[in-house]
Amino acid sequence: MLESNENTFQAAYDSKIEGNVIVTRVDAAINWMRKNSMWPMPMGLACCAIEMMATACSRFDLSRFGMEVMRFSPRQADVLIVSGTVTYKMALAVKRIWDQMPEPKWCIAMGACASSGGMYRSYAVLQGIDQLIPVDVYISGCPPRPEALIQGLMKVQEKIEKEESTKEQKASFVDQVS
């Protein structure tokens, strides 16, 4: 952070520093920060969770893309990874965790079960988590390979890049001022 005294203003116009200044939009800067530090909330419900754990471990190493900070508290998470079979008994618990996550937040349905109920066409299984919470990315597979989960998270990153993150804040600010 630049301090506003005379020295720093002089330094800001220094030709040596000028080449290191990047001009951008606030939206783009915020999106860039958000997408490079996504904190996933692992919702491990079945065998997909094993693949998710493998994804976070050294062989596949999720941290290469800035998403390694798995948080087991929904209050600290950005991305809900629903990995596994969502039974009706568990469904409202998943919904509750989603409701506890602060905005902005994204959701990944990992694997066939979370996306559509998968092979469990049965009385006990919710036929896709998208019946309860909005899903940003669906990952196919039973279970998906760790590479597929990484690509799913990169798809979320692509989505975050295109968001106009300040648009809503701007609208509510204009409302407040007027």
């Binding site: 009706y88 008994k89 469904a91 409202l92 109920g117 469990y120 066409r121 049965s122 009385y123 006990a124 299984v125 919710l126 036929q127 019946q131």
Partner: protein, 189 residues
């Protein structure tokens, strides 16, 4: 070791309460009357040394009377004997809990209660084990559709009907014609 001696002892001790006995590939099965089921199982544990309850399950003979059947798999630890005790249960009929004989019977009986709706008397904690309290159906009964039925318990859980696309597809294994043996949709009303 075979449990054949214990089957004979049971027949002597309970006389006409033992409905029939079946031996199949050295597996011993004893069918008993429901009112003496608890006494039979208690005797097996205390006098014959069947210390271990392997499983308690139930069968739905939908359309027959009596409709249900309890199945107890018990075993001895010191000489590897295995015995199966069965008893017919009518609809709405209660079964005496064997949690006082084997503590391990607790969750097995709760599962039977949850999935088949057979109530147990004398059970210390008879509530659903897999589905939630308040779920109105018994899912493993033959007249319950695989796809499920809608239900709603506010703030607890809900359930819906799964899309089956014409299924469930059931194989009729005893049929001679190949085309009839193939999996076909069978709807139970």
């Amino acid at each position: 070791m075979s449990a054949i001696d214990d089957v004979t002892s049971l027949k002597d001790a309970f006389a006409e309460k033992v409905v029939k006995t079946v031996e199949f590939r050295d597996e011993q099965t004893v069918y008993v009357e429901l009112d003496s089921l608890h006494a039979v199982l208690k005797k097996c544990k205390e006098d014959f040394g069947y210390e271990m309850i392997i499983d308690i399950s139930s069968v739905d003979h939908f359309g027959d009377d009596p409709r249900f059947e309890m199945v107890y798999e018990i075993a001895t630890l010191k000489d590897d004997k295995h015995l199966r005790i069965k008893a017919a249960v009518e609809e709405e009929q209660e079964v005496a809990s064997v949690t006082d004989v084997w503590a391990g019977a607790d969750w097995h009986e709760r599962e039977v209660y949850d999935m088949m709706g057979i109530p147990f008397t004398g059970h210390p904690n008879l509530k659903r084990i897999l589905m939630w309290e308040g779920y109105p159906y018994y899912p493993l009964r033959k007249d319950f559709p695989l796809a499920g039925r809608p239900s709603e318990m506010p703030d607890v859980a809900f359930s819906g009907v799964a899309p089956l696309e014409g299924g469930p597809f059931v194989t009729s294994s005893g049929t001679d014609e190949v085309s009839r043996r193939e999996p076909r949709a069978q709807v139970v009303d």
